[in-house]
C-alpha cells in the first residue's frame, strides 16, 4: 500500500472523485495552476482543466454563493477556503442558504457542497491562520462537519463527504498535513461519516479528540501509563452528527471524560460533548468531565504552544479525572 501524508491523501481523494464523476468541480483561491497554498490540489488543474479546477476572484462569499448555485444546478462543488479563518465572509451563504436549502424548499432543492478548509494552530499563524471554527457550524442545523486526523481517514472521509447527499464542512488539521503519514490504499474507499474510532483502548478515562489534537491526546495517554492511568482515546472523525454510541459505550465503561479541542473553550464543541454525555450517562460518571481547550482569547502568535491544549496540558487532566 502506498505511503501518503494527509495532503497527498486528500489530493488523491479529489482526483478519484473527479475521475469518477464529472459533476465534481473544485473552486477556490489559488487552487488552479499553483495547486493551492498547501498544494492539496496539485496536479488537478493539469488533469481536469480550468473549468473543473477553478481559480476564483478573492471572495469567499462569491465562491460559496456560486458553489451553492452550481449545486442547485446539479454539480458537486468542492470548495477550498484557503484558511478556515477566512470563511466568515461566506458564513451567511453557508448558514442561511446552504444549510437550509433542502428544508426550505421542501426537498426540491437539495444543495450539496463540500467546503474544505485547513484549520488549527501550531504553524505560527497567529490570529488569522490558526482558527478551528467547528462550533459555529455544528450549531447550524443542516450541516455535517468532519475533521480527520490521519491520511487514511482524510481520504476515506473526503470520499464519503463528496458522496454524501448533504453539505459537509471538511476541516483539515494543517499542523499534521505532512506529519500525519501512513499507508493509504491506492483506489477508492470510504470511511463512513458518523463513525468515531477508538484509537487507543483503556479503562480509566475516556478522551475525546480530533484533528491535530488527537496526537496530543495519544501522547498524553501514553505518558499517563506511567501514572497507572489507562486512557481510552477516541478520534471523533465526524464531529456532527457525532457518533454518540461509541462515546457513550466508552464513558459508561470508564466513568470519566476528558474532551480536547483547540478552539476557545466557551461555547466550543467540548461543551456539547460534555452535555451529551452528562445527559445520557450521568449516573455512570464518577468525576466531573474536564475540557482541555484553547483559551478564550484570540489565537496568539508567540505563545501559541502555550495556548494550545497540547499533551502537557492533557496529561494533568487525565490524572485529575481519574483521581477526583
Amino acid at each position: 500500500m502506498p505511503q501518503m501524508n494527509m495532503v497527498q491523501a486528500i489530493n488523491d481523494a479529489l482526483r478519484i472523485a473527479m475521475r469518477a464523476d464529472d459533476r465534481v468541480v473544485i473552486l477556490g483561491e489559488d487552487v488552479g495552476r499553483v495547486g493551492g497554498v498547501f498544494r492539496v490540489t496539485a496536479g488537478l488543474f493539469d488533469e481536469f482543466g480550468d473549468e473543473r479546477v477553478i481559480d476564483t476572484p478573492l471572495s469567499e462569499n462569491g465562491i460559496v454563493g456560486t458553489a451553492v448555485g452550481m449545486a442547485l444546478y446539479g454539480l458537486v462543488p468542492v470548495v477550498e477556503i484557503q484558511f478556515a479563518d477566512f470563511i466568515w465572509p461566506a458564513y451567511d451563504q453557508i448558514v442561511n442558504e446552504l444549510a437550509k436549502y433542502r428544508y426550505r424548499s421542501g426537498g426540491e432543492y437539495p444543495a450539496k457542497v463540500v467546503i474544505r478548509a485547513p484549520v488549527g494552530g501550531g504553524i505560527r499563524g497567529g490570529h488569522y491562520h490558526s482558527q478551528h471554527p467547528e462550533a459555529p457550524f455544528i450549531h447550524v442545523a443542516g450541516l455535517k462537519v468532519v475533521c480527520p486526523s490521519s491520511a487514511y481517514d482524510a481520504k476515506g472521509l473526503l470520499l464519503s463527504a463528496i458522496a454524501d447527499p448533504d453539505p459537509v464542512l471538511f476541516f483539515e488539521p494543517k499542523r499534521v498535513y505532512r506529519a500525519a503519514k501512513g499507508e493509504v490504499p491506492a483506489g477508492a474507499f470510504t470511511v463512513p461519516l458518523e463513525s468515531a474510532a477508538v484509537v487507543r483502548p483503556g479503562r480509566h478515562v475516556t478522551v475525546l479528540a480530533y484533528g491535530a489534537m488527537l496526537y496530543e491526546a495519544l501522547d498524553a495517554a501514553s505518558k499517563a501509563v506511567a501514572h497507572g492511568v489507562e486512557a481510552e482515546v477516541i478520534d471523533l472523525r465526524t464531529l456532527w452528527p457525532v457518533d454518540i454510541t461509541t462515546i457513550l459505550d466508552s464513558v459508561r465503561r470508564t466513568g470519566r471524560l476528558v474532551v480536547v479541542h483547540e478552539a476557545p473553550r466557551t461555547c466550543g464543541f467540548g461543551a456539547e460533548l460534555v452535555s451529551l454525555v452528562v445527559e445520557r450517562a450521568f449516573y455512570h460518571l464518577e468525576a466531573p468531565p474536564i475540557r482541555v481547550t484553547g483559551f478564550d482569547t484570540p489565537f496568539p502568535y508567540s505563545l501559541e504552544m502555550e495556548y494550545m491544549p497540547l499533551s502537557h496540558r492533557i496529561l494533568p487532566a487525565l490524572l485529575e479525572a481519574v483521581r477526583s
Binding site: 473543473r52 454563493g65 456560486t66 452550481m70 442561511n96 455535517k144 448533504d166
Partner: protein, 365 residues
C-alpha cells in the same frame, strides 16, 4: 425621478410601439401577459385583505411593478431558470406555478410544497424553473450566477434571470455575483427592479452612482436601463440580454425603472416616510393601465372582458383559499424531515421527544 437618458421605451403615449425595440409580441401573447398582470394585481389586493383580516400572516406585493416582473419572466425560455427575490409571485404563476399551491404556501398548510416551513410568499417551484425564495436580501444573486455557470460547464443551454431590488445592489452578493459573472462570462441576467425604495430608504441613500445600470461597467458587464412600467420594453430588453447570454457574450445588468406603489409589505406603513404626492407621477404611468389602453385601442379588450377575467380569477382564488383554510397544518414529524436527506440520531431523538411530549397550547392559525 431617476435620470431619463438611455432608457429603453417601446409603448408610446399614442399607444403605438417604437419599432426600434418592439419585441414583436403576438396579440395572444400580449393578452396572456395582460391577464397575468391583472391577476397579479388582483391577488395582491386579496392577499393584503386576508392579512388584514388575520387569516394569513404576511404578504409582500408587487403593486406598480407588474410589467417589470412579468415581462422579464416572459422573455425567458422554459429551460432557463429564474431566481426570484420575494416580490414576483405573479411571474411564478405565469410560468405555471399553480395558484392553489401558492395559496397553500400563503397559509403554510400541509399541502404547501415547502411544508409550512417558511413565511408566506416563500414558495418554490423547480418544475417551472423557479428557485427557492429566501428572505435575506441579495443571496440569490450569486446563486443564480453559479447555476448558469454550472450549466455552462456542463455545456447545457441554460440561462438564469435573477430578480432583486435597488437595495440589494448594496449587498455583498450583488458585488460577488456580478464580479464572478463578468470574469467567467456567465449567461445570467441581473434584473434590478429599481422601485425607488428599500423599505423606507430611498435610492439616493443606496448609492451615489447616477444610475444602477452603470454599476455593470465595474464588472466588465453590459448595463442597460429600461422603463420598467413598459411591458414591451421589458420583454424586448430581457430578450436581447438573453440572446447575448446564449451567444456566449456573458451577463447583462438590467435596471428596470419602476416604482413601489404600495408599502414594502403588509408589515410596513409607507405614510411614515413618504407623502402620497410622490405617487402621482407614477400613477399616470401605471404598467397595467398602459397595456389595457393599448389593447383597447386595438379592440382586443374591453370592460366586459375585464369583468369576466376578474370574476374568473376571483372564483379561482376563493376556491383556493377555501381549500387552504380547510387544510390542516403540516404534521409534527415534518419538522424533522429535509434537514438532512435522512434524519440522523439526534433528530430522531428530538422527533420522539416532540411527538411524545405535550402539545403547544395555541398553534397559531
Amino acid at each position: 425621478m431617476p435620470p431619463d437618458d438611455g432608457v429603453v421605451r417601446v409603448l408610446r403615449d399614442d399607444l403605438t410601439l417604437d419599432p426600434e425595440n418592439d419585441p414583436g409580441l403576438s396579440d395572444a401573447e400580449v393578452l396572456h401577459l395582460y391577464r397575468h398582470m391583472v391577476m397579479t394585481r388582483l391577488l395582491d389586493e386579496r392577499l393584503v385583505a386576508l392579512q388584514r383580516q388575520g387569516r394569513i400572516g404576511f404578504h409582500v406585493g408587487s403593486l406598480g411593478e407588474e410589467a417589470a416582473i412579468l415581462g422579464a419572466a416572459f422573455a425567458m425560455r422554459k429551460n432557463d431558470f429564474i431566481f426570484p427575490c420575494y416580490r414576483e409571485f405573479g411571474a411564478a404563476l405565469m410560468r405555471g406555478f399553480e395558484l392553489g399551491v401558492f395559496i397553500h404556501n400563503m397559509f403554510g398548510t400541509a399541502k404547501d410544497t415547502v411544508r409550512g416551513r417558511q413565511m408566506p410568499d416563500h414558495y418554490t417551484c423547480r418544475r417551472v424553473g423557479w428557485g427557492s425564495i429566501s428572505s435575506p436580501v441579495g443571496t440569490q444573486i450569486t446563486q443564480a450566477v453559479g447555476f448558469a455557470w454550472g450549466a455552462k460547464i456542463r455545456k447545457q443551454d441554460v440561462a438564469t434571470l435573477v430578480y432583486f431590488g435597488d437595495g440589494a445592489t448594496s449587498s455583498s452578493d450583488f458585488h460577488s455575483g456580478m464580479n464572478f459573472a463578468g470574469v467567467f462570462r456567465v449567461p445570467t441576467i441581473f434584473f434590478c427592479r429599481n422601485n425607488g425604495w428599500a423599505i423606507s430608504v430611498p435610492v439616493t441613500r443606496q448609492t451615489a452612482s447616477r444610475t444602477f445600470a452603470e454599476k455593470a461597467a465595474a464588472y466588465g458587464i453590459l448595463g442597460v436601463r429600461v422603463d420598467g412600467n413598459d411591458l414591451f420594453a421589458v420583454v424586448s430588453t430581457v430578450r436581447k440580454a438573453l440572446e447575448r447570454g446564449i451567444r456566449g457574450q456573458g451577463a447583462t445588468l438590467i435596471e428596470a425603472i419602476t416604482y413601489r406603489m404600495g408599502g414594502h409589505s403588509t408589515s410596513d406603513d409607507p405614510n411614515r416616510y413618504r407623502g402620497s404626492e410622490v405617487l402621482e407621477p407614477w400613477a399616470s404611468r401605471d404598467p397595467i393601465g398602459r397595456v389595457r389602453a393599448y389593447l383597447e385601442k386595438r379592440e382586443l379588450w374591453d370592460g366586459a372582458a375585464e369583468e369576466r377575467l376578474i370574476a374568473e380569477i376571483d372564483k379561482e382564488f376563493r376556491e383556493a383559499v377555501a381549500v387552504a383554510e380547510r387544510t390542516p397544518l403540516p404534521p409534527l414529524e415534518s419538522m424533522f424531515e429535509d434537514v438532512y436527506e435522512r434524519p440522523p440520531w439526534h433528530l430522531l431523538e428530538q422527533r420522539a421527544q416532540l411527538l411524545n411530549g405535550p402539545r403547544a397550547p395555541s398553534p397559531h392559525s
